[in-house]
Amino acid sequence: MRHRAGDEVPEPFGSGGGEGFGIADPGGPWHGGGTRRTGGVRGRHGARSGRRPYAREEAQDHLSAADLPPVAGPGVQTPQTARQHRAGPWGDGDAVSAAEPYPGGGYGPAPDPAYDDPEPDPDHDGPPYDDPGEDEQVPRRRRGGGLLVALLAIVAAGLATALTLSLLELRALRRGEAAGSEALAAARTYAFDMLSYDHRHIEQDLARARGHATERLAGHYRRLAETLIPQVRREQTIQQVTVAGAAVESATPERVRVLMLVNLTTSKLPPGARSRRDEVSQGRVRFVMIKGGDGAWRVDELSTLLGDPPTRT
């Protein structure tokens, strides 16, 4: 007896006619052969193509509710259907093939030789739903999985490298910004010590200035002391500095150029003069600040940037 709906339905979909009811009859005559048929593959194809309604019609046309075991159907899991749910998106695709009554029952369309299975091999211990190509697909899948893992690992390594380099780049940029602020604050603090002195303690003043200087600039201060100290003592000079403004000209993490507008008040009593002479001048200085190994900023260069026009008071 031919299954009418099976005759009408194209081959791949016709195999979906079981809708799982064959699986619900594990002891039935179709079970063993059905599960091993390539029809199982066909059933999956039918399910994937969204043509399941055919299968339902087929089942409804030819099987009454009384014919169906009560556990059959989607959403109800027997050990077998549970296994099939793992096997495909519908889970009952293989059930369809299992339900197909071709081997003994005569349901469905005439067997298509192209899909015919060889006789069941009782010694076959593979998975119950594998098709002839599955054994070959497993190594292929493994190879594919291995390739994917390798690809992901390469991409992850590349991203990790790019991330590390980017972090270093960002850190340098941030350190440059921070260095500007730190050096600016340090330069403001050092300005008085570096540029102020008093004839009564000029040596200590110069020593204090050297304390904020790099070795290079400290050497310059030592050379300056040879001529400055006698002159300051002779004129009884007192010079004091106030900072009128400070700004960052350029900044890298280790070197910052700071521009400062300073007002210098100088008081002198030249030899022979009866009273002190005071001067206020508007100066501008550039401190080149260097970050030392101890993390402290020190003045490495000091420039007066030309011009120091005095305004007499």
């Binding site: 899948r141 893992v149 991203l159 980017s166 940029l173 508007q282 550039r286 940037l305």
Partner: protein, 166 residues
């Protein structure tokens, strides 16, 4: 078993790692781009202040109209208004004395910049050499210390306020 382990653990873990690294990289690159933009804007603000200072200090009695126009083109707001108000007097003085003044920027530094990168305070130190055609009186050196407010207007940095620091 090994394949299953790879499928269930290794591949999702690697995929997650790739996604996390990519997200982190995007985040960092965005921060870098912002930092670079801020750096470029700081430099542009300093350049604008320097250009304005030179424009303001450089004039020739024969090209005084162009010189004043150039100085006006680098300013906006209050600085431009002040300059425009002085323009007529400056022009007349330059023509009458046959003045030739050349300005040069000695240094410019950034005091601060707002978070929107649209306004900055800058210190500018500039000198000018003033002479008069005919050689008398003797040339004079002039020294300037400015605090300038530089504003970004229509994508360009212009000096909106300039005051001498005393």
């Amino acid at each position: 078993m090994e394949s299953r382990l790879r499928r269930l653990v290794v591949m999702p873990a690697l995929a997650g790692l790739v996604v996390a690294l990519a997200a982190g990289l995007v985040w960092i690159r965005t921060d870098i781009a912002e930092a670079r933009t801020a750096q470029e804007e700081r430099e542009a603000a300093l350049r604008a202040a320097g250009v304005h200072a030179v424009s303001r200090l450089s004039l020739h009695h024969r090209t005084v109209d162009d010189d004043i126009r150039r100085a006006l083109s680098t300013s906006t707001g209050e600085a431009r208004s002040e300059l425009a108000a002085e323009a007529a007097k400056l022009k007349q003085a330059a023509i009458d004395t046959r003045a030739i003044q050349t300005g040069v920027v000695r240094a410019a530094g950034l005091v601060s910049m707002n978070a929107e990168l649209t306004s900055a305070d800058v210190l500018v130190v500039a000198d000018a050499l003033l002479r008069w055609e005919g050689g008398r009186p003797a040339p004079q050196d002039r020294y300037y210390r400015w605090r300038m407010r530089v504003s970004k207007v229509g994508g360009a940095w212009l000096v909106s306020k300039a005051e001498q620091v005393s």
